[in-house]
Amino acid sequence: MSLALQRPGFAARHAATLRQLRFYAWSFGRSPSSMLGLAIVLLFLALAAFGPWIVPYPGDGSGAMNLSNRLKAPSAAHWFGTDEMGNDLFSRVVLATRTSLWVGLTIVGVATLIGVPLGIAAGYFGGWVRMVIMRVTDIFLSVPGLVLALAIVAALGPGILNGVIALSLVWWPGYVRLVEAKALALRSEPFVEAARAVGAGHGRILALHILPNCTSPIIVKASMDMGLAILSAASLGFVGLGAKPPAPEWGAMISVARTYMPNWWWYAVFPGFAIYLTVLGFNLFGDGLRDILDPRSSRG
């Protein structure tokens, strides 16, 4: 029996990667705004995960009614006050993080799933494939997503699901643009040429060489888009095309609350502030990621 060769430990095998990650973490940590972003994002995720267990009135997220307790100002019992149905606003604002997280993830996820393959195909294959894909993309890009989403939701009927469908449908073109440019540049890189020369199939080249090299900008864009997607969904909610009652959703809450301004200011202020913080968090976080992952593009 030969001596079993000591397999190198995890750290040793991935030394280079770990060094890279440590460097990322170090430079990310050096920026206070990035850290603030990270903190907000983590708080948001924690609230989304544990919300139902930490809020004082979990039933208020699913349509409890307590009309004798309506529109009460913030107090020890109700930190953010109560709304027009007598529900605890703190509970509803916290419970709505889950809705927002789901909305953001789905929109960005669907947009990536549609946009990235199309972008890679367009950039890598070029020719008429690129022509067709990019023209269709341009059409979608030419209309502000919110207007088109508004039309779609108005047609389908309000509801978070319809809002998410609508926003996903208008969100993907940005990813096509992003990835296409990258893939186009990579196509003629020596290592891709080499892979092709040794007879690698398109699928293999795309999966092993093109896609991994597009990930940084995709991750950066996705994290920035999380915030924007949440904001857009809230905007739909605000014009009355958001979540179906009684589901808690920030935009829809503000939409109802605006008639109660300014005397019942807490009703609109807290959900709005929640949107602001969340979007701010994701933007700062995304900004920080961009500075370390994709420093050349950190403009515009």
Partner: protein, 533 residues
């Protein structure tokens, strides 16, 4: 026309520099035009189409009632029909021939006399366009049966007795054919032109018409019928401002930018009613709120389920949502409608009875979900949906609250197969005619938005058909009493409430008179004036 001057906070302060000077609450918060005042009213609903035969809703009617006259007019509470362009009228024994005698001095704004031909033309126009007001008379009055007997006499020969004919007369405004005819395009009876122009004889004439934002009217100084206030008090004009946000309307009346507002959220009303300088008007309305249930499909096809739901519903919540400014219905008919009777045993919340009914149904333990649809953008029905959701929890019935645009809701509701389980429905009676309300439960109602229950009951059909031609008031009312009882028995809907109609005006506004037969926010501007130096 020169632009009028402003005697108050001055838009000029609006210049940014002087901005800090703008302050509310001044005693002279109204607009002035020389020595006369301009009354400013704010509501949230635009007036896209002014044509009196094509569209009506509260804001549109408010302007139509100001620039046009009709043969008669609804005034007061309880509502009365008073002669207007017609000084008197008569009908034959079976009330199928109606003759109206016009006043001699009525003039259109351009000076033309309001004669029988103008009346005949206006009714014919309304019927032939087949829009807006046409439904009221179309099945009894062929356009050729209107005759201008002489310059001051018009005769309507109906195809059936119609005791309710008179109740519609205040809603058919008279246009000047001599002004309309030159503006006819492609046989449209001048519809395109009358959308933004007026050809009437009313107490006001249009000055500026911006359908989405502002409508400015001048009072007609020598209005043919005269003015109810003395001449110095008469307004120079009236303005309807379309301000979509309730919070903005409230800010405006507090700042004195407007003199009167409507469409006020219940909580705002409570807040403002006690404020200095504000006068609330809070009157029992005629608009019924009901939640119709699809009687042909799904769980609600089962009468026991309908009864269970009706007994589980939290009626008090309806009143609470309106801060007490609503009255529960005691019959399918609003109580200002002739023939109304309070029906005994109309459901109120009683969970035991609800459970008993449910036990007799095909779903003794609940366990199903029903869809509750309301018109997108309306707040009260959304809240009522939440109340419904809560009410039905004890029965283990889930509620899916869905908002849809009006056209989608109507398209779905037109057919029994696609009609939602439950729909929130407001019905505002436009006339004092019980037939309109009773017809809601006739098979004919299928396809109308209030017919989304798709109720088919031969007994009700027969009574409704008999009552509409019954000349004897006693017999007619007996039929209507039967109908009301039968409808409550069949429970095609949850009979809800009549919400109060509310306005807030500055305390110097005079002459406002409530009449339940106006539409929700509508105010008759003719008697209104402003009493302040």
């Amino acid at each position: 026309m020169t632009s009028f001057t402003i005697g108050r906070r001055g838009a000029l302060a609006a210049g940014l520099g002087a901005a800090g000077l703008v302050r509310a609450g001044g005693a002279h918060a109204f607009e002035r035009d020389g020595s006369r005042k301009i009354f400013v009213f704010a509501g949230g609903q635009p007036v896209p189409v002014l044509d009196p035969h094509v569209r009506y809703d509260w804001s549109t009617r408010m302007i139509q009632q100001s620039v046009y006259d009709a043969l008669a007019k609804y005034v007061n509470d309880p509502p009365q029909i008073v002669p207007w362009l017609a000084e008197r009228w008569e009908t034959n024994a079976d009330q199928s021939v109606w003759t109206f005698h016009l006043v001699g001095n009525a003039k259109f704004h351009n000076g033309d006399p309001v004669d029988a031909e103008a009346v005949r033309y206006s009714f014919e126009r309304g019927l032939r366009l087949n829009k807006g007001v046409a439904w009221m008379l179309k099945d009894a009055l062929p356009p050729e049966n209107i005759a201008a007997v002489d310059a001051r006499t018009v005769r309507f020969t109906l195809t059936r007795p119609m005791p309710s004919f008179l109740t519609f007369m205040p809603l058919w405004f008279i246009v000047n054919p001599k002004q309309v005819q030159p503006n006819v395009q492609n046989n449209d009876y001048g519809e395109a032109w009358l959308t933004t122009n007026a050809a009437g004889s009313g107490p006001f004439r249009l000055r500026r018409f911006e359908p989405q934002s502002i409508i400015h009217m001048d009072a007609v100084p020598d209005y043919w019928k005269g003015w109810p206030m003395n001449d110095q008090q008469r307004l120079s004009g009236a303005i309807l401002r379309i301000v979509r946000e309730p919070a903005a309307r409230r800010a405006m009346i507090q700042r004195g930018e407007v003199d009167m507002i409507t469409e006020i959220p219940a909580d705002d009303f409570e807040l403002m009613r006690g404020m200095r300088g504000m006068r609330p008007a809070d009157n029992k309305g005629m608009t019924t709120f009901a939640i119709t249930m699809n009687t042909t499909k799904g769980p609600t096809a089962d009468i026991n389920v309908r009864k269970a739901i009706a007994h589980a519903f939290d009626y008090e919540a309806l009143v609470q949502i309106h801060n007490g400014a609503a009255t529960l219905m005691d019959s399918p008919f609003p109580d200002a409608i002739p023939g109304h009777v309070a029906v005994e045993g109309i459901p109120r919340r009683n969970l035991d009875r609800a459970r008993q009914y449910l036990a007799q149904s095909r779903y003794p333990n609940g366990g199903f979900e029903i869809e509750y649809v309301h018109v997108q953008g309306l707040e009260d029905p959304r809240r009522i949906g939440l109340a419904l959701l809560n009410s039905l929890q004890p029965l283990n019935i889930k509620v899916n609250i869905v908002a849809q645009p009006w056209p989608t809701m109507v398209a779905r509701g037109a057919k029994a197969e696609t009609a939602p389980d439950m729909v929130s429905v407001y019905v505002t009676p436009v006339s004092a005619d019980p037939d309109v309300i009773a017809s809601k439960y006739h098979s004919r109602a299928e396809g109308q938005y209030w017919g989304m229950h798709h109720l088919r009951d031969a007994q009700i059909d027969q009574w409704v058909d008999a009552a509409r031609v019954e000349v004897d008031a006693g017999k007619r009312n007996a039929l209507y009493a039967n109908i009301q009882k039968r409808v409550v028995e069949l429970q095609p809907e949850i009979f809800g409430m009549l919400a109060n109609r509310r306005w807030i005006m500055r305390d110097y506004v005079r002459g406002f008179a409530y009449c339940p037969l106006r539409l929700t926010g509508e105010v008759d501007l003719y008697p209104v004036w402003v009493d302040a130096g």
